[in-house]
Symmetry: C2
Subunit: 216 residues, 2 copies
Amino acid sequence: MTSVTSVISVAGRNPDDGDRPVPARRPGGRSARVRARVLDAVRVQLVEHGYDELTVDAVAARAGVHRTTVYRRWRDVGGLLADVLDTAGDDDWRPEDTGDLEGDLAALNREVQEALTARPSVTAALIAASFRSAEAADALRRFWADRYTRCEVVVDRAVRRGEVPEGTDARRLLVAATAPLYHHLVLLRMPPDPRLPGHAARSAALAASAGAFAEP
Amino acid sequence: MTSVTSVISVAGRNPDDGDRPVPARRPGGRSARVRARVLDAVRVQLVEHGYDELTVDAVAARAGVHRTTVYRRWRDVGGLLADVLDTAGDDDWRPEDTGDLEGDLAALNREVQEALTARPSVTAALIAASFRSAEAADALRRFWADRYTRCEVVVDRAVRRGEVPEGTDARRLLVAATAPLYHHLVLLRMPPDPRLPGHAARSAALAASAGAFAEP
């Protein structure tokens, strides 16, 4: 399950793959298979060794492809990171529908918390990399913009149920609900607080129902 | 004016120094003067060239002190960054008292926004550096912990005025109020929204008065 921040588990596996045998060939032809192998290698290299050891050569070696293939297609580390993030958006992720706004926001926040505290966390490593690579920063912005857009349905549903006023600004509400998680974990670097996803959801939902996000 | 995030203007000047003549000698004896010169050099080097060109040698050259002096006292770049942040906490900064909770939070958020969008922004450069240096990350955590502690008086005053319930968790409320600014500017890297400091203050104050931060 990917979230508003989660950018795919390492090596492209889904958590529910469990003991299922991994298919020997990926779908999509040779070019798609090379891309998948290279992007897997970027994720693994990034979480295992950090940005400082993320080089085109290391990625090529890990993926078992020729370095010129990587240079030709991705040019540099920025291009590789941007493609990891762009690929992460190629899924059908949608926010959970729990039946009320606070529940929807809490579910979203639990996904954010899981993505940021996974060991290893590709999400955390990509956020760190975004301070090094302008291309990664741009790709991360695109990725989050897409995730927040997909989450707008949460607010639409709340408006239809009469939980929050018409004209509630979905983006502002979603940022208010999720920002404390990022602040706590990524910037303040505090240990995860299991109550925070629910707390942050509740305070944002209360503010929203009081009309805080429906003002000009 | 330094804020919950602002970590000193470049070269240690205060904004209100204006045209006042800069004293030829800093107070505090030779050792304090060397420290001030070296930490100024760290801030300037960091905002002008970024972490990648922040080396002990570059700092020593810029400060006009011998490199062994810097190595002996600060050991490495992590030690220098940690001292910049620790020094930033040696001030008498207190949050503004505007007479009500929303106003106090908005004033705080305006300081956060100013610190993060200043050109150059030492704060933004130090946040970026905290993803490279564990010592800088620890020092930033200490700095913020101290700033949030100083801001607890904002919540105490609101409790006394009856604006929010007894037992309101000051830290949670302060994080909820300020986090959207950091999220918007540092992680989402969006252009500053002049209404965001007030908006984020208003939604946190509304949630607080509805008891969102007073729950177990």
